[in-house]
């Protein structure tokens, strides 16, 4: 456990030692605010809820989270520091989890810094704060899911750009799997069970259902199992690919 913490702290500090992290946070915050007000018409809607704010998170994460995750393993592999990491008395799962948690915490901080919008909506009206809490939880967990996928992908290649694109692509597939365009593609040839399974894998569906204010066990299981499986595959990939 303390190994995980060590890795966590090392990674986490590394984030903030470069200007990149600050740039990331600034852009993320500015964009999420801008989307909320200018594309979500938050003010004009006149509704004291944060639906206009949370609606854009899936799409923001689609671009930003791969940008965070791309360097998780690809950089180490490219720089050859992965061997260095493995000489430390740290097991692969511990390293994987440590890095993942550090990245998740970083995104979590970026998310937390959006607090002005929460204060704003409480200042303007009387929102259902339970629903807002659910929204933040959903957003955090979805970010974690994107991260898990991205970390996995980053362990596959040495090239960060490829890691970014691949992670974004897979994320996009998961995001849109509930949408009609994707379902229609499957419905043509796949059996009923498969179509249902595909539409049940959608980030958007589960995210939307939590942001409505209800945390359904199925949504928890979905995101939880996704992260678990991705981290597991991540461990396998790091194990088999190091030293190459």
């Amino acid at each position: 456990m303390s190994n995980v913490l060590t890795i966590f702290r090392r990674e986490f500090d590394a984030y903030f030692s470069t200007p990149l992290a600050y740039v990331f946070i600034v852009i993320f915050l500015a964009l999420s605010g801008a989307f909320t007000f200018y594309m979500g018409y938050f003010f004009e809607r006149g509704q004291a809820d944060l639906q206009a704010f949370f609606a854009f998170h899936p799409w923001l994460y689609l671009i930003f989270v791969p940008a965070v995750s791309m360097r998780l393993w690809a950089e180490e592999r490219k720089g050859g520091t992965i061997e260095l990491l493995m000489t430390l008395p740290v097991s692969t799962p511990q390293a994987v989890i440590g890095k993942f948690l550090a990245a998740w915490a970083f995104v979590g901080i970026a998310l937390a810094l959006t607090f002005p919008i929460w204060i704003t909506v409480n200042y303007l009206g009387d929102p259902d704060n339970g629903v807002v809490v659910a929204g933040y939880l959903a957003s955090l967990v979805m970010a974690g899911s994107f991260l898990a996928i991205g970390a996995c992908v980053s362990a596959v290649t040495k090239n960060q750009v490829i890691a970014f694109i691949l992670a974004a692509l897979i994320g996009f597939l998961f995001l849109t799997s509930g949408l009609e365009i994707v379902i229609a593609f499957f419905r043509g040839w796949a059996p009923e069970v498969v179509v249902d399974a595909v539409s049940g894998m959608s980030f958007l569906t589960h995210f939307t259902s939590i942001t409505a204010g209800v945390i359904d066990l199925r949504d928890v299981i979905f995101f939880g199992s996704l992260m678990a499986v991705c981290l597991f595959i991540n461990v396998l990939l790091v194990d088999t690919r190091k030293g190459a």
Partner: protein, 635 residues
């Protein structure tokens, strides 16, 4: 190195990876199918949890009910929004079945074209909808049946009605569990129901009521309300004798539902009086003693006027010309005046009342008083004498002084009411017959459970002309509704006839949460500028009129304007521009504060924290460089 990379190792890893993915898919498919009710509802009003009212109704069902849901797959596929809705409805119905101790069974069918299921669906009365031109007919409805062949149907689930879904379903199940047609006892002091001599038609609202309940007349001097009456509707009570008051009191206290219409001034009665040359006084009604004991405050001496809801009327003015003005006693109420959360009023669009009184909760009364219909903020109490005989709408408008708070015109009263006759049944006058009198032993001092009443302070809203307009349609007289008065009465009766659990079921779903701060700003701005705006608009209108007159005087093409006329015209045009400019300024001012707030919020939310983060970044970079420089100096 401990870990040796070998071909075998890599193969094992691949297999493990693939299995993990398969496991992931299986877990999710499984959980999707089975874990239906494990959820944490974080909403303030527990919007996603079935309410206690529904649970109570379900627990009380003692005979099997079958729910048949017909949902076409092609509908879910063709219209994804409906797909989600179908899923939600299905889940809700499953929850009902789960909570009913096996009494409610759910069967789901996919009625494909030309299938047996489609025939069944149509036979039940479900509505088929064509997806698009020449597309297949899809169904999304519910047929519920009980053991005795009663059935209730939702022909097609309307997404607009989603927030009443729980109410509609619970209502359906309740009706199936209690299929007997309810009896409404009508005690009326106005000729609203059928006259035994068939001299006049019953009022349309009663005819509509008769379509779903049995309406039975209750005499005005009964000593006991019959036991098989489920709801007592009292219209315009006046001069009721003590024994009858006692009967009503005890009826309500023992759990009977009541809908009471009182009125400080009934225009219908006034007309009858005028027709029969009776004096114009005495057009009011009251249940004084009962209201007082039950905690309801109402005065038959005052009506309520609402300036904004006033109806535009034309009255004879001075000098033989007619004047158009707003009559504050005739009020057309809209959505903003209705209780958006009560199922009896939330779907109403318009109600028309004339010379209505107001009711309120008596100070300290231990009852639940829920306003259903209120006036707007700019309302006032007016002495009833001012509208009783030859009212002067122009004067009333001139004398109007807003009380700056709304008055309640109709309200729901619940709670444990206390009797108006603490000493027991009143003594019979003239030692009259005691056949219908209840024995003293049954006297109730307080209501047995929760009493449920709806009190409305206007009887004219029941009249045909308040909500119907008769039009000639190809030689036939057709009644076209212009207001939802009857709908409100039907809703109220329907609602009161349900169980307490049903009555307490609030319509859930999108509860409206506006930006209160902005609404306050808007209201304040309006108060400040609306008067100026009105004056300017008036000036604009007058100037336009004058200009119009001048143009008319110009006549046909050839007429030449005199210099003075041209000057006046030019002045008018200049005035118009000036007034319009001022109006624009006023309207701009109205929104100025709100727009400023908008800008500030945008700045704070988009730039504030990023700016702070930048500062922190710069600060950290600067201290690091300093530290680095110092270190290099030292080292």
């Amino acid at each position: 190195m401990e870990r040796i990379k070998s071909l075998g190792q890599s193969k094992i890893a691949t297999i493990a990876g693939v299995m993990a993915v398969i496991l992931f898919v299986c877990i999710n498919v499984l959980s999707e199918a089975t874990l239906r009710s494990a959820r944490l509802d974080l909403t303030e009003n527990k919007l996603f949890t079935l309410s206690q009212g529904t649970r109570d109704v379900l627990a009380a069902i003692d005979e099997p009910i079958t729910l048949r849901l017909y949902a076409s797959r092609s509908l879910a596929e063709g219209a994804p929004a409906y797909g989600d809705f179908i899923g939600r409805v299905r889940e809700l119905l499953q929850q009902y079945a789960d909570l009913s101790n096996g009494m409610v069974r759910l069967q789901v069918y996919n009625p494909e074209p030309y299938s047996v299921q489609e025939d069944e669906a149509v036979a039940y009365g479900l509505q088929g909808v064509q997806l698009d031109q020449g597309g297949e007919t899809v169904y999304f409805g519910l047929a519920a049946t009980n053991n005795t062949d009663d059935q209730q149907v939702i022909p097609f689930f309307d997404t607009q009605r989603e927030r009443y879904l729980e109410y509609d379903l619970t209502r359906m199940l309740f009706d199936l569990a209690h299929p007997k047609k309810k009896v409404v006892g009508l005690m009326t002091f106005l000729p609203i129901d059928t006259d035994p001599l068939k001299e006049y038609k019953p009022w349309a609202v009663v005819e509509q009521l008769e379509q779903f309940v049995t309406v039975r007349a209750v005499g005005r001097s009964v000593k006991h309300i019959p036991d098989d009456i489920d709801l007592l509707m009292i219209v315009h009570p006046s001069g009721i004798e003590e024994p009858t008051l006692y009967a009503i009191d005890q009826f309500v206290l023992r759990g009977g539902r009541a809908m009471i219409f009182v009125d400080p001034h009934s225009e219908a009665e006034a007309e009858m009086n005028a027709a029969m040359r009776r004096p114009p006084a005495g057009t009011g009604s009251d249940l004084g003693k009962l209201f007082a004991a039950w905690g309801i405050e109402y005065s038959p001496e005052t009506i309520v006027g609402d300036r904004e809801a006033a109806t535009r009327v034309q009255v004879p003015g001075s000098g033989g010309r007619s004047v158009v003005t707003d009559y504050v006693s005739w009020i057309g109420l809209g959505k903003q005046h209705f209780n958006a959360e009560d199922v009896t009023t939330s779907e109403l669009a318009r109600i028309f009342m004339t010379a209505a009184g107001s009711i309120s909760k008596k100070e300290g009364a231990d009852i639940e008083f829920t306003p259903l219909i209120e006036t707007g903020e700019h309302a006032m109490r007016i002495d009833v004498s001012k509208v009783r005989m030859q009212p002067d709408p122009v004067q009333l408008l001139k004398d109007f002084k807003s009380a700056a708070h709304p008055f309640t015109l109709a309200a729901r009263i619940q709670g444990r009411l206390k009797t108006a006759f603490p000493e027991g049944a009143p003594e019979e006058k003239d030692g009259g017959e005691a056949q219908d009198a209840t024995p003293k032993a049954d006297h109730l001092a307080q209501s047995v459970g929760q009493a449920n009443l709806i009190v409305v302070a206007d009887t004219d809203m029941l009249a045909d002309r308040a909500w119907l307009q008769f039009q000639n349609f190809f030689g036939r007289q057709v009644a076209v509704p212009t207001a939802n008065n009857a709908a409100f009465v039907i809703n109220a009766v329907d609602n009161l006839l349900g169980s307490n659990a049903l009555i307490n079921l609030r319509s859930r779903g999108l509860s409206v949460r506006p930006f209160h701060r902005i609404e306050t700003l808007k209201r304040e701005a309006e108060l400040r500028y609306s008067r100026t705006e009105q004056e300017l608009l008036e000036k604009l209108r007058v100037t336009n009129e004058e200009m119009g007159k001048l143009n008319v005087q110009e006549g046909g093409g050839d007429a030449v304007l005199t210099d003075s006329q041209r000057e006046t015209l030019a002045k008018f045009r200049a005035d118009l521009i000036d007034i319009r400019q001022q109006l624009r300024e006023v309207q701009h001012n109205l929104r100025k504060d709100i727009e400023a707030l908008d800008t500030w919020l945008k700045i704070i939310n988009i730039w504030a924290v990023p700016a702070i983060v930048c500062l922190i970044a710069v600060a950290m970079a600067w201290t690091k460089r300093r530290r680095h420089r110092l270190r290099s100096v030292d080292g």
